[in-house]
């Protein structure tokens, strides 16, 4: 059965209603002439500010799960780049080992020649 009742207002619609009220109160604050009036208006304004804060908080929190889902993709890309970097480092390492071995052979032969004159 179709629901013919009034539709639920969106978070933004609620936000706009309270935002408008807050702005009206703010305008009223600056034209109020006595400190008592200002104090009273600011007291109401404060409560509306708390509601708007809660709405903004909920708006931001509504995306936290989406961020959590994306965190894995970012970590995966980092791991894959690490692996690629390791592959490239390995190529450099192989030549370094070859160079070290060649130098070590040179040194060993030099020492050997001193002890076992040919």
């Amino acid at each position: 059965m179709a629901n013919d009742g009034p539709s639920q207002p969106s978070r933004q619609e609620i936000h706009d209603a309270f935002g408008f009220l807050y702005q009206q109160l703010s305008n009223a604050y600056w034209v109020a002439s006595t400190i008592e009036d200002k104090d009273r208006i600011h007291g109401i304004s404060d409560s509306v500010f708390d509601i708007l804060t809660q709405l903004n908080r909920e708006d931001i929190q509504s995306r936290t799960d989406d961020f959590k889902a994306l965190a894995k993709s970012v970590a995966d890309a980092g791991t894959r780049l690490d692996s690629l970097k390791a592959d490239i480092d390995q190529i450099i390492h192989v030549v370094k080992v070859a160079s070290d071995v060649t130098a070590a052979i040179d040194k060993a032969l030099g020492m050997a020649a001193k002890y076992f004159p040919m």
Binding site: Q12, H15, D16, G19, F20, L21, Y22, Q23, S26, Y29, I35, K38, D39, H42, S45, F49, L52, T53, L55, N56, R57, D59, I60, Q61, R63, T64, D66, F67, K68, L70, A71, S73, V74, A75, A77, G78, R80, L81, D82, L84, K85, D87, I88, D89, I91, I92, V95, K96, A98, S99, D100, T102, A103, I105, D106, L109, G110, A112, A113, M118
Partner: protein, 272 residues
């Protein structure tokens, strides 16, 4: 840099929210006193941690990408092959091998070293060309998603009627509105107790807050623009690596450049 700006956006709103609560406490202290539970953060640590983790991950991704793409590896490889070439020359000159290696000219060793260098460089390029397009391509959707979510988190400031705002920009804008009223109330309530200098200083804070409100909002807006650019730049990076079908002219140019590099490398051998 963009990641730092986004972190700063959250920090700015959090600090300003704290400041608003402190100012409220100061103005209403005589009436309400102090309740330790009244000071609260704007966002929970769970909300902030996951965002910080994402931003840290993006920074690491950019750093690792820069490491892999940079010439640092190739330069290091050249250094290592040069050292290898020199080690071969030294070995050939070793008295024990002198007789055996007498027939091997230095030019031959240089050719061998250059071949090792060219092959290694080609292999490094091959590894990059084979892996990077996939990694960057797979990251495009998450990068787009992250930028869209952060842009939505930052939101928009309210219009002049007070409508249309949401997210960090709305929150920060309203906090400044509140701070302005609190500062004004503070002055109104204490104006008879201020000395002229203090009174002037406190009043001067009002227009400063108005200017700061606009400046802070513009900074958040600029961060949104930077996030938009980040997504576009990453897209361009994907296209750059997808471009695996260069024109003949480009190929010749690349070949020439590679030839020049090999020549320079070759000529540099044996010169310490």
């Amino acid at each position: 840099m963009t990641a730092n700006s986004v972190t700063a956006a959250f920090d700015t709103v959090e600090q300003s929210y704290y400041q608003t609560q402190i100012q409220t406490l100061i103005v209403n202290y005589d009436k309400n006193g102090f309740n330790p539970k009244s000071i609260k953060p704007f966002l929970t640590s769970d909300d902030l941690e996951v965002r910080a983790k994402i931003l840290g991950g993006l920074q690491e991704y950019a750093q690792k990408m820069s490491d892999v793409v940079s010439d640092q590896h190739v330069t290091e490889f050249d250094t290592q092959t040069k050292a290898f070439g020199q080690a071969l020359v030294d070995l050939k000159g070793n008295p024990v091998l002198k007789n055996i290696a007498a027939g091997v000219p230095d030019t031959g060793l240089n050719i061998l070293t250059t071949a090792v260098d060219s092959l290694g460089r080609w292999f490094i390029d091959y590894k990059r060309q084979k892996n990077l397009p996939t990694i960057i391509g797979d990251m495009q959707k998450p990068v787009d998603g992250i930028c869209t979510l952060f842009i939505a988190d930052i939101g928009s400031r309210p219009d002049d009627s007070g409508r249309g705002g949401h997210g960090l920009r709305d929150q920060l804008w309203r906090q400044y509105d509140s701070l302005l009223q609190l500062q004004d109330e503070f002055i109104q309530k204490s104006k008879d107790k201020f000395d002229p200098k203090t009174k002037a200083e406190e009043i001067a804070k009002l227009p400063l807050l108005v200017a700061e409100q606009k400046k802070a909002d513009n900074t958040l807006k600029a961060t949104q623009d930077a996030l938009q650019k980040l997504s576009e730049t990453h897209k361009a990076l994907t296209k750059a690596f997808e471009k695996n079908n260069p024109s003949l002219e480009e190929l010749i140019s690349q070949l020439y450049a590679e030839g020049q590099r090999v020549k320079t490398f070759y000529e540099g051998l044996g010169k310490k």
